[in-house]
Amino acid sequence: MSVNFPHAALARLFDEVGPVDCVGIEERVAKYTTRSIKKASKLWGLKMAVSMVDLTTLEGKDTPGKIASLCQKALRPHDDPVVPQVAAVCVYPSMVRHAKKHVADSRVKVASVATAFPSGQAPLKTRLGEVRAAVADGADEIDMVINRGAFLAGEFAKMQDEIAAVVRACGDATLKVILEVSELETYDNIRAASFLAMRVIREGDFIKTSTGKTTLNATLGNNQVMLEAIRDFYLDTGTAVAMKPAGGIRTAKQALQFLIAVKETLGDAWLTNERYRFGASSLLNDLLRQIEKERTGAYQAPYYFSEAAESY
């Protein structure tokens, strides 16, 4: 039935999970950019942000050598020992075993995108095979994309069944479910898709904004919609789902604004890299730059830091 009437299916879903007040969300997040975070609290936030980075390289030109450099950077972002390690490196499945070699003895995890990233347009069997292969190669975390086509067609059960199948294929690996918000188009859809995903994943699994491969990525707005979905889901069920905005977060200032959103929406319990991550490459160097600025008092030139992943 719903296959033929996606709007009716969506309308029922919106009734169930509640609508999003678009203007309210925009107003709310605009306020986050006015918070004044200085000195010690700024430094604390910057270090927290570093520890939450999923240092990412997802290029066709990735090589084992580039992955090795990325891992070294993840293990020791800066020569200053106060700077923590990042949370994880995020790579394509074929690079998992190369990354694992370098970070196996550390707390840095290996995350792998899978399920025909970024489009997800492959048969389910192929996508599940990719997940199993990545886990077998040593991936600690799997970043999957949802079936946006199924969602927009109102085939929610299909979308959820696929996520559930990936959950099983993950085994012990943490799952991050990419909603690809730019293709969901509205805040209502983002909230609805968040709920559908959260109902089939496990405590500690993530929902994630985007692949970083489309024009619109993580914004404070869609981050806020997803954080509020996580909050409402937690209050309903007691299950704590984690969150990962990805793509488009390039500056330390932005990262701090996202952390403010987390603190003011979900509270301190989510201010840990178990429950919040940044999918980013160039962000790390800007964080390091600002940390060094706090230490020395002088604005830093970007070329004083080891190559950022975006130049790979």
Binding site: T296, G297, A298, Y299, Q300, A301, P302, Y304
Partner: protein, 288 residues
């Protein structure tokens, strides 16, 4: 019917856009008669940081332009000054300059731009070299722009002082963050409007207005600035040299307490271009 007065909000030219200070601070500017004229942006070290980011972004593209093209664009800037000559003179007079002195300030500024425009595709021939070496090698010395240059303009002459410092820095492909005269900032606001219409890519010249006391320390310590050129008093020179030593940048500072004749022929020179160049020497084996 009497018209309502249309007063202007002066804004600074940074990154190819006209902006207010991020702090939203302004300071009042009075004309020669002591009447309120306008509120001018009182830029902060964060504005300076943003301007440096803008200059760094514009740098590679500007340096990649052909020398000929950079010369054309500097010439075009001269054309813009010439076209708005009367307005510039009127402004300088409004702030207390004599008519003849104001005209001289504007005309020499324009000529100075044309002078450096001419050097654009010629300085390399003079400053670069093929060096004689006692081995079968060609040995070249070529120049390269340094990157982002900080400029500290003198209080007077308000226009010529600024132009004389900016032009030799940008002609070789550097980009500039300049602090305008603290006492007479308005000509720099107008210069920004001319820069915007001169084919100069946004971010190549960034003009700030504000207080030297607030901004000089950041000019000194910012590691992304490769050199500081301009005029400074004894205390500022001390700060700048200490900061420059820490951040490894060059300083070419003239003493504010000296009487500098900006109108003299000696105030424009190939060596002013050289001040913001690095030299690279290359050995190349001579083939059989």
């Amino acid at each position: 019917m009497s018209r309502l007065p249309i007063t202007k909000t002066p804004k600074v030219y940074v990154g190819g856009a006209f902006i207010r200070s991020e702090s939203a601070r302004v300071f009042p500017l009075a004309d020669a008669a002591g009447h309120f004229f306008a509120n001018v942006p009182q830029c902060t070290r964060k504005d300076l940081r943003n301007a440096v980011e803008a200059a760094a972004k514009a740098g590679p593209g500007w340096a990649r332009r052909t020398a000929y093209n950079r010369g054309q664009i500097l010439y075009r800037l001269g054309e813009m000054l010439e076209a708005r000559r009367e307005e510039l003179i009127g402004t300088l007079v409004h702030f207390g300059a004599k008519k003849s002195a104001a005209a001289k300030d504007v005309d020499v500024s324009t000529d100075r731009l044309i002078y450096y425009a001419g050097w654009a595709d010629k300085y390399e021939q003079v400053l670069g070299n093929v060096n004689p070496v006692a081995s079968p090698h060609f040995n070249f010395t070529v120049t390269e722009p340094m990157g982002v240059i900080g400029v500290l303009a003198p209080n007077t002459p308000p226009l010529l002082g600024l132009v004389s410092l900016i032009a030799p820095a940008i002609v070789s492909g550097n980009t500039v963050v300049a602090l305008a005269s603290e006492k007479f900032p308005y000509p720099a606001i107008l210069l920004g409007e001319m820069l915007a219409t001169s084919d100069l890519p946004g971010g190549v010249v960034n003009l700030l207005t504000g207080f030297r006391q607030e901004l000089v320390p950041t000019f000194a310590t910012h590691t992304h600035l490769r050199a500081i050129v301009g005029v400074a008093n004894a205390e500022e020179r001390r700060q700048l040299k200490l900061g420059a030593a820490e951040s490894i940048k060059r300083t070419h500072l003239q003493k504010a307490e000296d009487a500098i004749d900006w109108f003299a022929a000696t105030a424009q020179s190939l060596y002013a271009i050289r001040d913001t160049l690095e030299f690279k020497t290359t050995w190349h084996p001579i083939g059989a």
